[in-house]
Symmetry: C2
Subunit: 653 residues, 2 copies
């Protein structure tokens, strides 16, 4: 029997005990204290319950049904149907069983790891994604940590050099390794290891800006297994690649939703959450916990022991890196937008709670500013923009849209808050690029929609690339005007509760049992997102005196690009109107760049150099931004001179 | 009521509980477990109970009287008189009160700190000892840690550099400080400190071979107090100087017996003890505990907070440094005498248990080999031998006698086991240089001894410098032959239980109520010690093709030298027969050198350079050592050609 009681106040006076919350149909459970919500319990249990607003009863997405036991929740968090409550506002009284409806789940159990082989990827990129990064070409292999077999000469009366001195001498002679920091534990164990192994040992050494660190000393010269992690902490997803530091090969990849999603969809809601009591630590544990799950799974699958993973390279936007390190991100969203750190000093796994070798070094890709993080620097590195003579642009169009323009001589970047529309956020039938997402849409000659879903399953919603297709197709078909408003006379358009809407897939053909639609409000959101991304890029170009059509290369980074139809992206004015062959998808450039730095200290230095010389342009300080933005609130653009081919296709000029 | 029971076995079957042991007349107490001895309890309580052999019932020096309660001890550890047991073999059954007789106490409650002003000190040395080290002349002031006030520019939209980047930029511009390691705690606190203090802060920074480390960030620019410790860990005594890192001034000094003395007098017995279960940790805690007491006392006296002490420089012989760091010293006494480390990597106070700033860097003076440690390198630095053109010799004649010969072009060193005779060990009436020790002896014209004690109090024994005087005086008076055997017809000579002995002070004139005597066996011990020290030095000189009389400078380091009469030391052949003005006492060169390195990173580098270029000569591997040793077993020496003036004074040639 389930019951929902009045207000949380009723709990007062009761002794504080732990409740066990079981989630169905997952059949996963967690124990929580009296002050923790069902949403907290879901996070602890690893159940992907949606919580876009960060647990503040705003987004109304975490509805669950209590099927057994008792909970308290305020009236506004209770629905008409029995047992239905907002998980973020409900607290258990004793043990409780909860049913999580499909609609309240975070989609995306399948997340791109960067190891997929989408057919569209250019061959070179394919190779990169499959773990043979360009570092092998651009940079000498010099991983951030390595296991070095050493046959040390036995000490004699004529060579009585100390244990550590003997080791250091060998490292200096053979590898020019100096300034070796040695943790006390390793030093204390050294005499026993050296003699127990008859002076044949393997030194595990990490490299960092200050020099080297002896992470471990293993008996025997065949104990040379050493692995590293290339990690992309995205606002939405977390991707981990397990890399053999010796060969440079990627053993495998794993990905999951960033558990922080339960506390809010975008960086701003995370930052707000982090400012609440205990919030920062909660967010830190959420992402570290998810990473530990992924790493544990990868290690198990590939028969790697946790303590054989001796270094990790983290790429993420500035907020994600702050949360991972437990740094207060509050100032990131307050002018003048100053983060605690853009180039975090090296730390050790144990201090961060990462369950790999306790002394493993953990480095973060150097970032540029509050809204241009190490993930973008990794993108630049992965694209090779920093050493190319071509005038290039890189666009990472996620919730936070970042743009970089430059070449080997200069790099300039900006960020704009594009909003989550192209990730499916704030769109009636939007969803992330996951199984069941419509990723391709066309308008057929007989005036209907044709579509394809990820995984080929019945559709659950529309992801970013599908939305781009939809916009372009409806524009070309004349079902929508250049201001992205549906024409009342277009087929499939009807008047919904909030105005005109178009039915993309009728309920019967979906996996969710309701129509997949797009409303005028959705189209407005998409238009705003596209305008923001383009305006940022265009303003950057204008400040450089460069025409967008002059760009010799356009790189598109992020999962968004993976399934994107380039022609349609140009058609709606999201990407600049350059010949299609100049546009290159680099996939998850963040994890690729991180892997390059993981495998080459030189690449890490290069990344530092890129971050240092990349000029950040704060667009909110540039009065011309609004002009650019307003001009871009048209499809493809107000100024057809900037989109000659796209306008020609529409028969306008 | 006190009772002593049979064997320890009787304890078996009883529940393990803690006993409280009270020591009188000190009235200090400690709680110990059933497996711990009364000696362990004395150490825990800080009672200076003698335990030369390291708690193995060999030295028979830790007799105590149980006045209340019950103890168990094997028969061989029980004396005839009621309640008298060897503390090292006795274990308490329940609470016990113990009386510590004067004879079982370690002497030396007053230990030279290096801040005394003995009249004999040359002016320059006096200045050094008083905290104005030569570093001020030789080296640019650049302390190993410093507190830097920083007025940072407020962030603006045009200068939105991160908190850490802002700090780093200022440090790079102003001080060329790069490669700044930042512990996670400091990084996490930084945004709050910076904004709370309106961007006026004080950065506490340590310097180490790999670069710099941000130890702390304090609000306000006037929080610039930063202190360091120069520490000399001797086998017998521990000396700590508290130094203002800003001004270079020594605020004060404190010294105490190294509590490890209870586990054995010399490094060999400590090494043996360290090899027993739990022994290493016990020894480590003993010295760290004593340091914490001294530091606590100094900090309190000089109104310094523990967390204002941000770095420490340790000088000690190789074994002492091993025990302090918790490194197994076992190989130091096994051929080929290989220590774990001679140049220990920098560690942090918290890991070592030092109660100063938890992140304070702890550095050790670089050493050369198992028996030539960082203390000797510190001596060389303090003497300035490494930069002088003069052909110099340095002698540190403690239990382990070290000799260095060289100048700015070369440095060569050796060590010999001189034994503790010149520290009063193994001598019937020997004692350390402490209050009541006879430090000066003459034979008067009317055939009696005249003497002076440290502190002017009635004598308790004879310390090293007194023994040197005694030997020289008796030799000149003809009371003793050149083989250091008493002449039966000399005044004050009598036959004691173990052969001829001479009464230096009759019981009535002493503070201990028994005759202060020297026996033939004592003289033999002294002769062996002197011969070992000289033979080491002479062999080193011989291998260099140098005559001892050619030395342009002889430095004498260590407490032993402070009160030494140079003429007498030459007379007995302990110091080479060079003109007296060529001999310089440098006092506690160990703590002085440590302080120089503490106050100048350049001096630390120079110390590293000295350690690296100092050639260690293992004398046990040189077959000529025994020849030199046998030749030196004569006063002043078998070869009067080496001691022309000393032999002339005796009328021999």
């Amino acid at each position: 029997m389930a019951s929902v009681r009045g207000r949380r106040d009723e709990l007062e006076g009761r002794p504080v005990t732990q409740s066990h919350i079981t989630f169905l149909p997952d059949d996963r459970a967690a124990a929580v204290g009296a002050s923790e919500s069902l949403l907290d319990a879901a996070i602890a249990a690893g159940v992907p319950l949606a919580g876009v607003c960060g647990g503040r009863a705003i987004c109304q997405r975490c509805w669950v049904v209590v099927t057994e036991g008792e909970v308290v929740a305020p009236p506004e968090a209770r629905a008409a149907s029995p047992g239905e409550v907002l998980a973020c506002m409900a607290r258990a009284v004793g043990d409780v069983t909860v049913q999580v409806p499909e609609a309240s789940r975070i989609e995306g159990e399948e997340i791109l790891t960067g190891l997929e082989r989408p057919g569209e990827l250019p061959a070179a990129e394919d190779r990169v994604a499959l773990g043979l990064p360009r570092a092998a070409e651009r940079f000498v292999s010099s991983p951030l940590a390595f296991a070095l077999p050493l046959d040390l000469p036995q000490p004699t009366l004529l060579d009585p050099v100390s244990d550590l001195g003997r080791l250091e001498r060998e490292l200096q002679r053979g590898r020019n390794i100096r300034n070796l920091a040695v943790p006390l534990d390793v030093l204390r164990a050294a005499p026993g290891v050296l003699r127990g192994a008859d002076w044949s040992v393997t030194a595990v050494i990490a490299r960092s800006p200050g020099g080297y660190e002896l992470l471990d000393l293993r008996p025997g010269t065949d104990a040379t297994r050493a692995f590293g992690l290339a990690v992309d902490i995205g606002t939405t997803t977390v991707v981990v690649h397990l890399v053999d530091l010796g060969s440079g090969a990627t053993l495998g990849a794993a990905a999951a939703l960033n558990r922080q999603v339960a506390y809010g969809d975008d960086v701003i809601s995370r930052i707000i959450r982090a400012g609440e009591p205990g919030g920062l630590e909660q967010l830190r544990q959420a992402v570290v916990g998810e990473l530990n799950v992924l790493v544990g799974r990868l290690a198990h699958t590939h028969d790697v022991r946790g303590d054989e993973i001796v270094t990790a390279m983290i790429a993420g936007n500035t907020t994600m890196v702050h949360l991972f390190l437990g740094l207060a991100p509050g100032e990131i969203r307050r002018a003048p937008y100053v983060p605690v750190v853009t180039l975090p000093p090296v730390q050790h796994a144990e201090e961060l709670g990462l369950r790999i070798h306790p002394r493993a070094t953990v480095t973060a890709m150097p970032g540029v500013a509050s809204y241009v993080g190490g993930d973008i620097v990794a993108d630049v590195l992965a694209a090779g923009m920093d050493t190319s003579g071509e005038l290039s642009m890189l666009i990472d169009a996620g919730t936070n849209g970042e743009t970089v323009i430059g070449n080997r001589d200069f790099l300039i970047c900006c960020a704009c808050s594009a909003g989550p529309a192209f990730e499916g956020g704030g769109i009636s039938s939007g969803m992330r690029a996951a199984r069941g997402a419509i990723q391709r849409v066309e308008v057929t000659e007989d005036g209907a929609f044709a579509f394809a879903t990820i995984g080929g399953t019945p559709p659950r919603g529309i992801c970013g690339s599908g939305l781009v297709d939809l916009l372009a197709a409806m524009l070309r078909a004349g079902w929508m005007d250049r201001s992205a408003r549906l024409r009342a006379d277009a087929p499939l358009v009807r008047t919904g509760p909030s105005g005109p809407e178009i039915v993309v897939v009728p309920a019967a053909a979906t996996a969710i049992g309701r129509d997949i639609i797009v409303t005028n409000a959705d189209l407005e959101n998409l238009l705003r997102s596209k305008a923001a991304v383009y305006a940022g890029a265009a303003l950057l170009a204008r400040r450089l005196g460069v025409e967008m059509t002059d760009l010799e290369r356009v790189y598109v980074a992020g999962g968004f690009g993976t399934y994107l139809d380039i022609g349609n992206a140009i058609q709606i004015g999201l990407l600049p109107d350059v010949p299609v062959e100049r546009i290159t998808f680099i996939g998850n450039g963040s994890v690729i760049g991180a892997k390059m730095a993981l495998l080459s200290y030189e690449a890490l230095r290069q990344a530092g150099d890129v971050a240092a010389r990349m000029t950040y342009r704060e667009l909110s300080a540039d009065e011309a931004f609004m002009d650019e933005y307003v001009s871009a609130m048209f499809l493809p653009h107000t100024d057809c001179g900037r989109f000659p081919r796209a306008c020609a296709a529409l028969g306008v000029a």
